[in-house]
Symmetry: C2
Subunit: 134 residues, 2 copies
């Protein structure tokens, strides 16, 4: 499936959420790559995966719920650490294989206690650790 069939719709037109969810281009495990961005600063915090049930739960509760591929279970972000992600907005991309979440991240998003997960930065032929845990 794909959302490409809807790409010529005009700005301001709408579809039902159910129709969009039914047309997402998930992988074989029913998952879709999901980017979390801090809504006010623009920081890209992390990439994780959602399935339809975690998308619906996130929209219903306003607290972000992923599917953990390593643990094979729902992952309510911050449930154990307290580092919750509150949902500000959810958008799907042109072909329906990616979600962008605008969130309000409390504390570090990364399991290493860094604010974001992208701390291996390329510098020439080296990769430098460019942030420390908080």
């Amino acid at each position: 499936m794909s959302l490409k069939q809807f790409e010529t719709m005009n700005k301001g037109e709408s579809l039902s959420l159910d129709e969009v969810l039914a047309n997402l281009k998930t992988d074989d495990a029913g998952l879709i790559a999901t980017i979390a961005q801090q809504h006010d600063s623009g920081e890209v915090l992390m990439l994780a995966y959602m399935n339809e049930k975690s998308i619906r739960e996130t929209l219903e509760t306003g607290q972000v719920c992923y599917w953990s591929r390593s643990r094979q279970t729902y992952w309510r972000k911050g449930e154990s650490s307290g580092h919750r992600q509150s949902l500000v907005s959810m958008s799907f991309d042109c072909d329906g294989d990616c979600i962008l979440l605008q969130v309000d991240q409390k504390g570090p998003a990364c399991h290493t206690n860094r604010r974001d997960c992208f701390f291996f930065r390329v510098n020439g032929d080296q990769v430098v650790i460019h942030t420390a845990p908080e």
Copy 2:
């Protein structure tokens, strides 16, 4: 493979690029999810996929090259449209299964001629087209 073995390194320490590339957690096709973000505005433009060869080409040329899963070939962003992405920085995430590119995007990033690909925005039980092509 994963980059988790390196997560306790201190800020400012470095690894060789070759070692990091050898430890990325790619999918079965050798691909890794790659987020492109406009370096100055913070806009998340798109999500695409890279393999090791496209990562190396991007670093060497300074022009972003993805692997197109639909066309099964290298995708030098903007080669036909002129909407090039120039590389500003490249970072890998904590477990080595995602890349964040800071780029300078010329014109629209999306194939629909929108600036970014995330134009299906959830609004209650509806999804609204929230930008128009440029």
